[in-house]
Subunit: 433 residues, 2 copies
Amino acid sequence: MEIFHPAEILSRDEIAAVQTRRLARVVKRAARSPFYKAKLDEMGVDPESITSLDDLTRLPLTTKDDLRASYPFGMLADEHRELVRLHASSGTTGAPTVVYHTEKDLRTWADLMARCMHMAGMRKEDVFQNIAGYGLFTGGLGIHYGAERLGCLTIPAGAGNTARQIKLLRDFNVSAVHIIPSYALYLAGVVAEQGLDPRDLPPRIALIGAEPHSEEARRRIEEMLGLKAYNSYGLSEMNGPGVAFECEHQNGMHLWEDSYIAEILDPQTQEPVAEGEVGELVMTTLTREAMPLLRYRTRDLTRFLPGECACGRLHRRIDRITGRADDMLIIKGVNIYPMQIEKILLAVPEVAQNYQIVLEREGYIDQIKVRVEIKEEFFIEDMRVLGGIQKRIAGLLRNELLVTPRVELVEAKSLPTSEGKASRVVDLRETKD
Amino acid sequence: MEIFHPAEILSRDEIAAVQTRRLARVVKRAARSPFYKAKLDEMGVDPESITSLDDLTRLPLTTKDDLRASYPFGMLADEHRELVRLHASSGTTGAPTVVYHTEKDLRTWADLMARCMHMAGMRKEDVFQNIAGYGLFTGGLGIHYGAERLGCLTIPAGAGNTARQIKLLRDFNVSAVHIIPSYALYLAGVVAEQGLDPRDLPPRIALIGAEPHSEEARRRIEEMLGLKAYNSYGLSEMNGPGVAFECEHQNGMHLWEDSYIAEILDPQTQEPVAEGEVGELVMTTLTREAMPLLRYRTRDLTRFLPGECACGRLHRRIDRITGRADDMLIIKGVNIYPMQIEKILLAVPEVAQNYQIVLEREGYIDQIKVRVEIKEEFFIEDMRVLGGIQKRIAGLLRNELLVTPRVELVEAKSLPTSEGKASRVVDLRETKD
Ligand SMILES: [Zn+2]
Ligand SMILES: [Zn+2]
């Protein structure tokens, strides 16, 4: 196995040792910020007392609201004069969030990013087109610095202007691109409309991410563009891209555990979920100087994948993000995420685009009902056929959710949509009288 | 004097020595590209024979058309695998132009840019907001890398979204900005409309450039925003920003002669203009590895300013760009640039926004007529008053152009405009029969 950085092939013991050493250091560093100093004081935690990974649970959880409340300088753990970059959220509602970087932070970030790209098969010889907005959005500059660190000929193409993107891909024989999944499909469509085969475009690798997408969407991108598409995970609070990335086996994303400690917690109780269960990803930065974050609640739902990856890297893999913690529903004491339901429904061939989850209360018991649009060709009057589909869907959902929902089949295009998007969840449990 | 780089305080002899050494090297390097190899062969110039600055005139001139014709790889003087960046022109018409960079090229560019910013008074402690489009446009990433090289806390704000720009300026106590002149005036207007004083915004320094603007526009920016505005010059063919910049004396832009050889040539004859005369700026890159350019015709018109700058730096200063060589008119054997006429007219208080230059032929003699809109309050029927204005304008133009134009006064808003912009030059000399 070719590696970009020695940390890729650490053993589990070595990872634990690095994490222990860096955790102790990062907590002391975090304690220099007004926010964490107050928080640790209030909890009676002496930063010097953090000496093992078991001490992690003694540390405070950090939320996006904490970031907002401490805007603009409350999370800063370093001298102002050492800072060389900040990224801020667009903050359309409420206070924005901001993340600061020292020069060393930027170098570390670029190294992590280059490590990801190399793991996905990119090399110095690649010509790389970065189809992403630059500026305050971390997906532009973050990926850009990684590609230059790796030594690729980097084209800072930015977002939009599809005709020009296609021209650049062709003229410079671009071998690797960064592109968001929906735009990849759109771009392939534009080429096809010109009567050309998008598979003839030169790239052999696409880095995709930044928006949730299914395994099916990835395969479609791969088939339409004739390349390998690698899923990535990152969020601006953890720098941006470069947190976790797929290797050539494309079976989950290796999360770089020498740089982050990842926990998966129940979003309600903040207790660890059982091994392999879905929960909220909670992360601690291990190397950031300017603005360390302790146990940051990402709100992103995922799980650790079991077993070891065939590539030999022992950094644990997370599954693709299956939704946001804020979307979680509790039915009969069971946590249910709409994305779980969607995943099941979209794998059923008879199901059309749209569905709706309806929560009802009967007496004191919550009930979940799933209304599913069925494609026109299947929606026939023969009750036996429809009954069979209904029963099959109910069974699949029960196996996934461990709760038996009612399933109601409806005609295609009969469910309400708002601005083209379906209103997925309707909660009728609250009786306002 | 504080300096960022020792090259800033080279003596004229030292500059000549550096230029001689680097010219010899860069010509050998350029000869590795298909374009220059063919060109030098064709002219019978042996790269090894370039040993002094006097040999410069034996080298070929390079034009934008040459760049276009050799798109995409013809100007490349380096191995593909050594390249880490390319910038391409938007190329709305015809083939685009492209400039490649090695890692060392990017470092050199960032160093030059940091040198410029430091010369304009920026320091590591500054918080710097880069209000510029990123991506393929060199003004974004070029300035960005310079600011990070200098060690400023850099905010990659990008272009647009004025409300957000203002919020960032305030929230992070931004002390220096990069902004295009027209947008600086617009932003000040937005703040004023909110009933606030734009002078209360935190920045003390603005780097302005990327679009031609007058000394008056600079002073207006300085007064409205309560800061010092420094003019800059660059073009993507010479990397982008970082070619020439004003020092604290704001009296022309020091052009970094250790990195570029600058000539000012007559755009028609390609002979050097007389000392201090306006002509086309022609530049040779001295340090670029991936894509050296020899005697590149920028089409930009300027002149070397006489005398030494009070700051002590001996790199020669160029005047603000007064137009494009393509705009040059030849009347009675004299080179005339529309910008010269505009400069005179806009300094006359009675003149309104618009004017028009009409070229006519009488027999075999070309004539120039200038039609000038006069502000409503001055456009009265008293012929003596109008006659006085007319005579005054004609005198001012004759002194500047050394040709006597006819001057015709017209009412404000009576001249044709297209898409809000005036059609400045109307050429009636070509008789198509
Ligand atoms: Zn793997
Ligand atoms: Zn000076």
